[in-house]
Amino acid sequence: MNECIPVDQLGTMKQLDAEDPRRRHASSCPRCSSLLFAYEEFTRAEAVEGANPVVAEMQLGRFIEEHAGAAGPKRVTGAPRPSRGRWFDFPILRVAAVAATLIIVAVAFWQPWQSKEIVYRGEASVQFTGLRATRASDGSIDVYWDAVKGADSYRVTLLAQDLAEITRLDAGNTLSAHLDSGTSGGPAPYYWQVTALADGAEILTSDPQRSP
């Protein structure tokens, strides 16, 4: 069976020359020809009696948009924000703001009373890392994540199967949260996600993670 075609190579069979040994094998071997038939049925996606592909496409489209939409998974960064007010229209305030920013940056980098080595907990990144969850025998779930640079607190959100929000949990500045079976008070959470906050503003939200 060494010459049998790996399943993930089935899609390239039709591109091969008719005399190619792999294609000839695929058409003569019962296992490969049946598998190829199954794969072609998969891609053909013909309606199946009792199925509701129109509704499914709509729901899955929404699901995909939540996860892989161009704007990212419920990322607040880049989302429309409330009006900044009119103070920015005054040149003198603009100059003052720039000066204040420069002073803050200078102070942040010039700290002779501290060690020269700056250690960050976790990696600076644009995505959450270290996301994991474990379920205890009593049904409670512990979720973990790595630190996000600039975040001063975190919030865990529990989501239902259709990604509707069930509840939110303030995790403070820790890198884990304990969710007991009564945390949600509603349907069992199907997904969870964590949001990093800085001064109360959301700076990064993870992709929804399937609950264990």
Binding site: M1, V7, S34, L35, A38, A56, L60, A70, G72
Partner: protein, 187 residues
């Protein structure tokens, strides 16, 4: 990226990998998944015959594919890579399903039970493959592989093979089992 809908899979895969985590990468990955959402849902539905359950499984497949997009090297077609994920998800569902359909197994006569076990164990083996290619016609081969390798429910095999006679795939499977039994005993 308004041309995403007409872009070939291969190009979208490259974009999704090269720009992972950026809006362009997300859009490419999203377009790839959107293209196959119907196929994934319908494939899952064939196994469970339940809309909600199939939708749940399809979501798992989509999420898994999205999270593992970086592992996809692009040497195979994206559709066949996704098929692997969908297929595995269906296998797991069937494995965990206490209500797994075994009606055809219950109905086989006792002397066929042993050949049934044997096919299940040897479905990937050379000896059975050679016997199948020798004694079974194309429909019988497909029915046997869909049942024992793809673990597809019998009624779905009837539908996918477009068998319109009353007993559908059940009769084809029984005939194929008998032929395989004789072939393997003779060998």
């Amino acid at each position: 990226m308004s041309d995403a809908a007409s872009t070939p899979d291969r190009e979208l895969v490259e974009r999704a990998r090269a720009h992972a985590g950026t809006p362009a990468g997300r859009e490419a990955a999203g377009e790839l998944l959107r293209r196959y959402r119907r196929a994934v849902y319908l494939w899952c539905f064939r196994y469970v015959r339940d809309h909600e359950r199939a939708l749940d499984m399809a979501q798992d497949v989509m999420l898994s594919a999205y999270q593992r997009m970086g592992e996809f090297e692009g040497r195979a077609a994206f559709s066949s890579w996704l098929f692997v994920i969908a297929r595995n998800r269906c296998f797991n569902e069937m494995r965990n399903d206490a209500r797994r359909e075994d009606v055809d197994l219950e109905s086989v006569e006792s002397d066929e039970a042993s050949i049934d076990d044997r096919i299940e164990k040897e479905i990937q083996g050379r000896r059975l493959t050679e016997a199948a290619s020798r004694v079974l016609d194309t429909t019988e081969q497909r029915a046997i592989w869909l049942r024992y390798s793809e673990r597809m429910p019998v009624d779905e095999i009837t539908a996918i093979l477009k068998l319109d006679h009353k007993s559908g795939a059940r009769a084809v499977l029984q005939r194929a089992r008998r032929k395989l039994k004789s072939a393997l005993e003779e060998a």
